[in-house]
C-alpha cells in the first residue's frame, strides 16, 4: 500500500506540473490572449508583489475575520438549534416545513438588504456567511440526531437520566461526527460567501481587492488574488478534513451521509 501512495503522490505532482506548464505555455503560444490570461510566471510575479504589499495582508485578515466569526456564530447557532429541535417533543415535525423552505433560499438574495442596512461593514458579510453556513450545520446535526441508537436512548432513560444528561451522554457523542461534517461543509461555504460579499458589496477583504484589480485592469494581480482565494479554500478544506479525522479517530463508527 505504501508503494501505491508514493506512485499516486508522484502522479499528482506530475499533474500539478503539467497544469502549471499549460498555464505558462497556452498564453505564450497565443492560444489565448495574454491580456485575458497572463502566463503563469506573470501571475506568480504578481503574487509575489501582493505578498510584499501590506494592504494585501490587511485584506486577507479581513476575509479571515469575516469567515471565522461567521463560521463560529453559524456553528454555535446550528448546534444549539439542532439540539433544541431534537430534544423538544414535536418541534422537529413542526419545524420541518420551515427548514425545507428557508434552506434553499440563496443567501445572496439578502445582499441588497445587507447593503442597505450595513453598507460595506463587517455585518453585511456576517449576514450572508451566517445565513448560508447555519443551514449546513443544522442539517447535519439533525441527521446525527436521527442516527442515535434508540436502544441507547431507552437505556439512558430507564436509568433515569434527565434530558440534559441524555444530551451529553447519548445524543452528543452520536451526533458529533455529523457536527464535524457540518462544520467542515460550513467552513467551505463560509469562505465562498465571505469572498462573495466582499466582491459584490465591496466590504473590505480579498473579494473587494479582486473587484478593484478587475476595475483597474490589473489582470495579473486579479489572477494572483484568485489563486490566493483558491489556496485559502484548499487550506480550509484540507484543514477541516484533518480536524474532522483527528477528532473522530477515537469514534468507533462514522456512519451516515457522505456529503462531498
Amino acid at each position: 500500500m505504501k508503494g501505491q501512495t508514493a506512485v499516486n503522490a508522484a502522479l499528482g505532482a506530475a499533474g500539478l506540473v503539467v497544469f502549471l506548464a499549460l498555464g505558462e505555455a497556452v498564453p505564450r503560444l497565443g492560444l489565448v490572449k495574454e491580456a485575458y490570461f497572463p502566463p503563469a510566471s506573470r501571475i506568480a510575479d504578481a503574487l509575489a508583489d501582493e505578498f510584499a504589499d501590506d494592504t494585501f495582508w490587511t485584506a486577507l485578515g479581513d476575509t479571515l475575520t469575516g469567515w471565522a466569526l461567521g463560521l463560529l456564530i453559524a456553528s454555535g447557532a446550528g448546534i444549539v438549534a439542532g439540539i433544541v429541535i431534537s430534544v423538544v417533543p414535536y418541534l422537529r415535525e413542526a419545524t420541518a416545513s420551515t427548514i425545507e423552505f428557508l434552506r434553499p433560499i440563496p443567501s445572496v438574495a439578502l445582499i441588497p438588504l445587507a447593503v442597505l442596512l450595513y453598507g460595506t461593514e463587517l455585518e453585511s458579510v456576517l449576514i450572508l456567511v451566517v445565513y448560508a453556513s447555519f443551514w449546513q450545520v443544522l442539517v447535519q446535526v439533525l441527521y446525527g440526531v436521527q442516527d442515535v441508537d434508540p436502544v441507547a436512548e431507552e437505556t439512558a432513560r430507564s436509568y433515569g437520566l434527565g434530558t440534559w444528561a441524555r444530551v451529553r451522554h447519548v445524543l452528543w457523542p452520536t451526533a458529533l461526527p455529523y457536527v464535524m461534517t457540518g462544520v467542515r461543509l460550513a467552513a467551505a461555504v463560509a469562505l465562498i460567501l465571505a469572498v462573495t460579499a466582499e466582491l459584490v458589496i465591496g466590504a473590505p477583504g480579498l473579494g473587494q481587492r479582486i473587484a478593484v484589480a478587475q476595475n483597474s485592469q490589473a489582470v495579473p494581480e486579479m489572477y494572483a488574488l484568485v489563486v490566493v482565494t483558491g489556496l485559502l479554500g484548499l487550506l480550509i478544506n484540507v484543514g477541516a478534513r484533518a480536524v474532522e479525522r483527528r477528532a473522530l479517530a477515537w469514534h468507533q463508527s462514522v456512519r451516515g451521509e457522505v456529503a462531498v
Partner: protein
C-alpha cells in the same frame, strides 16, 4: 383522517405563525428598510407583472438551465473518465482539489475578461461553478462501484458501453445526484451574482436596481421571488430525484429496517 390533519397542522403551523408574526411586527413600521409586510405583498403583483416575468425571470432561468446542463454533462462525462482509471485520478487529484477550492463567484471578473457581460458570461460562470460538485461526486461514485457487483458484471461478460450504462453509472447515480443537488444551489447563487455584478436584465439585476434606487418594498418583493425560486427549484429537484432514485431510497429503507 386524523393523521392527515395532524400532518397538515405540523407542516403549516410554524410558517403561518412566522408570517403572522412578521405581519404583526412590521405593520405600523415607518422604518425605511423594514416596510410592513402588507405593503410588500401589495407591491408584489405590481412589480412582477407578466412582462417582467418574461423580460427578467425567464432569461435568468434560461441562463441557469443552460449553465447547469453544461456543467452536468461535462461533470458526469469527465468524472466518469477520471473515476474509472486510478492513474488518471491520481494525476488529476491535486489540480482538481485546487480548482474546486476557488470560490466560484470569484470567477465572475475572470470570465468577464473573456466573455464580456452578455449571456455567454453568465452561462459560463454558472457552468464553471456547477461543474465541480458534479465532477467530484461522479468521480467518487464511479470509483466506489461495489467490487462484488463489478465482478458479477465481469463474470457475465458485461463490458464496455453496456457496463458503463447499466452498471457503473446506475451504481454511481445516488452519489452523482448528491453532486447535482449541490450544483443546483451553487448555480442559483452564481446566477444571481453574475446578474448583480454586470447585467442588463435578470432577477438579480432587477433586485439590485431596486436597492440602488431605494425602491425598498420592490426590493423586498425581489428577495421573496429569489427565495421562492430557490424553494421551487429544490422541490422540483427532489421530485426528479425521487423518481430516478426510487430504488435507492427503497434499498436504504430496507437496510435500516434490518441492519
Amino acid at each position: 383522517m386524523r393523521r392527515v390533519l395532524l400532518r397538515v397542522l405540523f407542516v403549516l403551523a410554524l410558517p403561518v405563525l412566522l408570517v403572522a408574526g412578521w405581519w404583526a411586527a412590521s405593520d405600523g413600521s415607518t422604518n425605511v428598510f423594514w416596510p410592513p409586510l402588507r405593503t410588500i405583498l401589495k407591491t408584489f403583483p405590481d412589480v412582477w407583472t407578466a412582462d417582467r416575468l418574461k423580460d427578467d425571470v425567464l432569461p435568468s432561468l434560461l441562463r441557469l438551465t443552460a449553465g447547469y446542463a453544461c456543467a452536468a454533462v461535462v461533470g458526469v462525462a469527465l468524472g466518469t473518465v477520471i473515476g474509472s482509471y486510478r492513474r488518471v485520478r491520481a494525476f488529476c487529484e491535486p489540480v482538481l482539489e485546487f480548482l474546486r477550492a476557488v470560490p466560484p463567484p470569484v470567477l465572475v471578473p475572470v470570465i468577464m475578461l473573456f466573455a464580456g457581460i452578455g449571456d455567454t458570461m453568465k452561462i459560463a460562470v454558472i457552468a464553471s461553478g456547477c461543474v465541480w460538485p458534479v465532477l467530484l461526486n461522479t468521480v467518487e461514485g464511479v470509483r466506489a462501484v461495489d467490487p462484488v457487483m463489478a465482478e458479477t458484471a465481469k463474470s457475465y461478460g458485461i463490458s464496455g458501453v453496456a457496463r458503463l450504462k447499466d452498471v457503473v453509472l446506475r451504481s454511481a447515480s445516488p452519489q452523482i445526484f448528491a453532486g447535482l443537488r449541490q450544483a443546483l444551489s451553487i448555480g442559483i447563487i452564481l446566477m444571481v451574482i453574475s446578474e448583480m455584478f454586470a447585467a442588463s436584465n435578470g432577477i438579480g439585476f432587477t433586485v439590485v436596481q431596486f436597492q440602488r434606487s431605494f425602491a425598498i418594498p420592490d426590493m423586498w418583493t425581489g428577495i421573496l421571488v429569489l427565495g421562492l425560486l430557490g424553494f421551487v427549484l429544490s422541490v422540483v429537484f427532489q421530485v426528479v430525484e425521487r423518481r430516478m432514485l426510487g430504488w435507492y431510497h427503497g434499498l436504504r429503507a430496507s437496510a435500516r429496517r434490518s441492519p
